[in-house]
């Protein structure tokens, strides 16, 4: 069965394989009013197809949460378009409410996101009430709550409904929030670091749940994370974000087996596992969206640029890295990376293009 609910476009209006979610050149500028304005999301193309899990990975401060909030309709894009099923996010309250029913959040911190004085039942029923789902479907609220809890792996539901958050483990709290999201019958889940505050042992069980929801309900998931292992565990496609932009994207296996962008390479090398790669620990602070460097926005921290000719970056290329604005990566199902060095290598005679040019 699929989780398609009322509010979707007319049947057949969506061509096969067209994206459920599409971001087109989305910019979000935050702050201002005296404070320096932050270009938190600075030109992002991104698509999530039906039944697809897409991971958006990057360091803190790179704009993941802002992007997630934009997709949820909680943050207006400064420019660009956000579409679900080809329909642009509107501005009226009714449009926003319909949108939020189709697109639901799984938050980062389950403990902070649950009201300690409300039972599990109340937490899950809230969305049902907001969207008046019992009246619309003619089903009892308690049945809908129980169904959502069981889908989220809290079985039997009766054992959980009367409990308070303090009586649950971290993993159970995250399942309650997932149940609350599922209850309204969304098509897309936006999960912001869904396991980063959970114990290692719980992490896999929550990720397995997201995979199962995709398989059983056909849900799409946009998962925002700093953890490339999470992408390996559940994502069909991976987009790597740096300072408000997607700098590399593609099928997860391809991006992680053969990362093209020096930033992706560095990020992958510091995943603490078996020491497969020589760690490239980038110095300095996570980048600042109020002061985005000219040229390639990664250039001040780029190990390839720092290594110079040894890494294939001659003087000419180095000058371009520091000054030339890179085009946005187009939305594409293939493996793409925004890096002048990669472009130069791909164009060098006798050097087969390492990144297929399918923009």
């Amino acid at each position: 069965m699929t989780a398609t609910t009322a509010g979707a476009g007319p049947a057949g209006a969506t061509p096969e394989g067209s994206p459920l979610l599409a971001l087109e050149d989305v910019h979000v500028v935050l702050g201002g009013h005296g404070a320096p304005s932050a270009r938190a999301v600075d030109g992002v193309h991104l698509q999530v197809r039906r039944g697809e899990i897409v991971a958006l990975a990057g360091e803190s401060g790179c704009g993941k949460t802002t992007l997630a909030r934009t997709v949820l309709g909680l943050q207006r894009p400064t420019s660009g378009r956000v579409l679900v099923d080809g329909v642009e996010l509107g501005t009226s309250r009714a449009e926003l409410r319909a949108w939020r029913r189709r697109v639901q959040l799984v938050p980062q911190d389950p403990t902070g996101s649950l009201n300690p004085r409300r039972t599990v039942y109340e937490a899950v029923a809230e969305g049902l009430r907001i969207h008046r789902i019992p009246a619309e479907t003619g089903r009892r609220e308690d049945d809908l709550v129980a169904e959502a809890l069981e889908r989220a792996g809290l079985r039997p539901a009766e054992r959980f409904v009367a409990r308070y958050p303090a009586e649950l483990s971290g993993g159970q709290r995250q399942r309650v929030l997932i149940a609350g999201a599922l209850a309204v019958g969304p098509e897309l889940l936006v999960a912001d670091e869904p396991v980063s505050s959970l114990d290692a042992s719980v992490r896999g069980t929550i990720l397995a749940l997201l995979l199962r929801l995709r398989d059983e309900l056909g849900l799409s998931v946009l998962v925002v994370t700093h953890d490339l292992g999470l992408a390996w565990n559940i994502a069909d496609r991976l987009a790597v974000m740096y300072l408000g932009r997607v700098v590399e994207a593609g099928p997860t296996e391809e991006v992680l087996a053969d990362p093209q962008h020096p930033y992706t390479q560095a990020l992958l090398s510091v995943v603490p596992e078996t020491g497969r790669l020589e760690p490239v620990v980038l110095r300095g602070e996570p980048p600042d969206a109020t002061a985005i460097p000219a040229g390639c926005r990664f250039h001040p921290r780029c190990p390839a640029l720092a290594a110079g000719p040894a890494a294939g970056v001659g003087d000419g290329l180095a000058a371009r890295c520091r000054s030339e604005a890179l085009p946005l990566l187009p939305p594409s199902a293939g493996h793409t990376a925004a890096c002048l060095l990669r472009d130069a290598e791909a164009q060098a005679p006798g050097n087969p293009a390492s990144v297929p040019d399918d923009g």
């Binding site: 360091e59 803190s60 483990s169 971290g170 993993g171 159970q172 114990d199 290692a200 042992s201 719980v202 992490r203 896999g204 069980t205 929550i206 990720l207 397995a208 995979l211 700093h226 953890d227 490339l228 292992g229 390996w232 565990n233 559940i234 296996e253 992680l256 087996a257 560095a266 990020l267 992958l268 510091v270 995943v271 603490p272 596992e273 078996t274 020491g275 497969r276 760690p279 620990v281 980038l282 110095r283 602070e285 996570p286």
Partner: protein, 337 residues
């Protein structure tokens, strides 16, 4: 040389509904220049153990066993001596401490404070100079002594906490979940810093984390704790890549090896929750969650025993040479049945 030697440590909290045995017989050593990891799920007793190293456990907790710092038992030493040992012999970076910096005090002053309190005769000027040196030592510009905590990022605040831990030149540092709230690149920076300090200063480091992949890549030795006991020890890398105890295996599998087809689209988790220390299961405390448990596991409480060179495990189904005994009762050695 051994800096820290914990012997048969038991810590029991008094709860409203009875005793909570948080640590139940732990042995652990940390030598100079050594990084020892302590892994396990939340609630298994890691922070409790860390607090006993400087006798900082909550009042009312009952502690037995020995905690030897340079052969002196912290648990029985006099107050005056304990005061001298804190900061100077050993220091602890507590879990979540980066959030507990005083928001109204410049970080340089916070780093200098232990020197002024614990090193009689230190002048303010000297302490301030040393605080600036320490900031540079942990990779921040000396000028940041004037910063307030809110002006620093999470990674920078954790560096300040590490500088503070080094204030009185201790030989042992205990770092409780120092990278848990940080993201990967900053985590890598902080781990680099800690292992660099061990190499340069010959410190002993007890590194606590729920993430076995972090410990595996950083530690000389790792101990995995479950329900107040150590259930497996061995070289760090081996524990992550080739764990023997079923719990340690599950913890290691929680983080996939990127590129390994086994973890691709199949995240490995450990279902169930750790036991309530006030109501532990019979037999092996892991048996209700264990996928290979046999009937004997419900009855016998396995103690840590050798499991191959340099390794030990507390599981009925791990042989003395570390080889797995098959999951049938018949294979469990006679004396363990």
């Amino acid at each position: 040389m051994t800096l820290l030697q914990v012997e048969d440590l038991h810590v029991t909290y008094r709860g409203g509904e009875g005793d909570v045995p948080a640590v139940r017989g732990v042995d652990l050593t940390v030598a100079e220049g050594e990084v020892v990891g302590l892994a396990g799920e939340s609630g298994c007793g890691k922070s409790t153990l860390a607090s006993t190293v400087l006798r900082l456990q909550p009042a009312g907790a009952r502690v037995t066993g020995k905690v030897l710092l340079d052969d002196e038992d912290v648990l029985t030493m006099r107050w005056g001596r304990l005061r001298a040992v804190r900061w100077a012999a050993a220091s602890v970076v507590f879990q979540g401490a980066l959030h507990s910096l005083n928001p109204l005090q410049r970080v340089g002053d916070q780093i200098a404070e232990p020197m002024l309190l614990h090193e009689p005769g230190t002048t303010r000027g000297t302490a301030a100079r040393r605080a600036a040196d320490l900031l540079e030592r942990v990779g921040l510009p000396a000028s940041r002594v004037r910063a307030y905590p809110h002006q620093l990022s999470g990674g920078q605040r954790q560096r300040v906490m590490i500088a503070m831990a080094l204030a009185c030149s201790p030989r042992l540092v205990v770092a409780d979940e120092p990278t848990t709230a940080l993201d990967v690149m900053v985590q890598a920076q902080v781990l680099d810093l800690l292992t660099g300090l061990v190499a340069d200063l010959g410190l002993g480091l007890l590194l606590i984390s729920h993430d076995l992949s972090v410990l595996g890549s950083t530690c000389d030795r790792v101990a995995v704790m479950y329900a107040g006991r150590i259930v497996e020890t061995g070289p760090g890398r081996d524990l992550f890549t080739d764990a023997r105890h079923p719990y340690a295996k599950a913890l290691a599998a929680a983080f996939p090896t990127i590129g390994d087809p086994g973890g691709r689209l199949s995240p490995a988790g450990l279902p169930g929750d750790p036991p309530d220390p006030a109501a532990l299961p019979t037999g092996c405390s892991f048996h209700p969650r264990c996928t290979v448990a046999v009937a004997a596991c419900e009855r016998r409480d396995p103690l840590l025993r050798p499991a191959g060179p340099g390794r030990s495990a507390a599981c009925l189904l791990v042989g003395e040479d570390g080889s797995p005994l098959t999951g049938t009762d018949g294979d469990v050695p006679e004396e363990l049945r």
